[in-house]
Symmetry: C2
Subunit: 158 residues, 2 copies
DNA sequence: CAATAGTCCATAGATTTGGTGGGGTACGCC
DNA sequence: GGCGTACCCCACCAAATCTATGGACTATTG
C-alpha cells in the first residue's frame, strides 16, 4: 500500500522538480499547492532530506529543494524511505527480509515465492522510473482507455 | 500489502489443493497444519466460500474443499476477496476506483499514473497465476539466487 | 534582536489488523 | 429423535499503524 505519507511525499517531489534550477520552495507553499496538511508535510520532507533526496535551508529565504537532478532520483527510493519495503509481504523483501513466525521454512513457502515475483515486478517499475520521467506528464491524453468510473464500485476487483 | 488474512487464506488454498479429489478437510486440520489460529481461519474460509472459491459441508464428516479444480482458481481473485483491491492506492484501481480527497483532477495526477502501471504489473502476475501453478512447488531448488539473509537488515530496500 | 522557516519531540484520534468467545445451526449417526 | 460434530454468525477487543496536531527550539537573514 502506498500510504498518504508516501503519496504526499511523491507529490511534493513533483512540485519541487518543477521548480527552476536553484530555486527553493517553502513547506507552506508546497502544502498549499497540493492540499497537504502543512505539519504532516514537515515530517515527510524531513525524512526525505535525511535520506539525502532533498536539501534544506533554514531561516528567511530558506526552503526545500532537490539535492540532485530529477533524473537521478528514483521513485522506488523515495517510496521506500517513506513507506518502507516495496514487497507486499515482508518475507518477500530482498533486503528487508523478515521471516514470518508461522512459517517453518521460508524457502518452501508458496506464498513467499509468488510474492517475490510480485515484488520484483514492482521494483522493476519503481526502481527504473526517475523523478524526471515521473514528472513528465503526458497531458490528459495519456491514458485514453482508463476511464474513471462514476462512483465507487461494489465488487473489489481493482 | 498482503495481510495475514490474505496469507492464511492462500496457505489454506494450497492445503486444500493438495487433497485427493473429492476429499474434504476440517478447519481444525488446516489450522493445525499451517499454524493458523482456528477461529481466524474460520472467517477466512467462510469468505472464500461466499466468494464461490470453496464449498463446505456441515456436520460430522463435513469440511471444506475447493469448489473448482485448482487450475480454474486464480490467485488474484482469492487475494481480492480477502484483502481487497490489488492496486497500491485506491485511485489506481481499475474497478474499485475511488478518488482521493486531495486530488482535484485524478486524470492529471502523476502518482496515480505511476501506480496504475504498478497495479497492472501486479494484476498481470496474480490474475494469470492459477492455484495449480501456485501449488506446484519447484522444491527448494526453485530459487537459487534468492538467499535468505541472516537477520533483519537495517536499510529498508525491499 | 526580531522575524522567518526549518527541526525535533510528544501526543492523540481514527482506522485497520489480528484475534477471541459464545452461541446457533445443519448434518450424520446411532 | 437425540447427540455430537463442525460449519456459521455475531459481537467484541487489543494492538498496531496511519494521519495528523501542538509546541518548543534552532539556525539564518536583515
Amino acid at each position: 500500500m502506498l500510504t498518504k505519507k508516501g503519496k504526499y511525499g511523491l507529490k511534493a517531489l513533483v512540485d519541487l522538480a518543477r521548480l527552476a534550477p536553484g530555486e527553493t520552495a517553502f513547506v507552506s507553499e508546497i502544502a498549499l499547492r497540493n492540499n497537504i496538511p502543512k505539519k504532516f508535510l514537515d515530517t515527510i520532507l524531513l525524512e526525505l532530506r535525511n535520506a539525502g533526496i532533498l536539501r534544506s535551508k533554514k531561516g528567511p529565504g530558506g526552503g526545500y529543494a532537490l539535492s540532485q537532478p530529477a533524473s537521478a532520483i528514483r521513485i522506488g527510493h523515495a517510496i521506500r524511505v517513506l513507506d518502507g519495503p516495496l514487497a507486499p509481504i515482508r518475507c518477500a523483501s530482498r533486503t528487508a527480509f523478515e521471516a514470518c513466525d508461522d512459517c517453518a521454512d521460508p524457502q518452501a513457502c508458496q506464498v513467499r515465492r509468488a510474492m517475490t515475483e510480485v515484488r520484483d515486478a514492482i521494483a522493476a517499475i519503481l526502481d527504473t522510473m526517475t523523478l524526471e520521467q515521473f514528472v513528465a506528464a503526458p497531458g490528459a491524453a495519456g491514458i485514453v482507455d482508463d476511464e474513471v468510473p462514476e462512483k465507487k464500485v461494489v465488487g473489489r476487483t481493482g
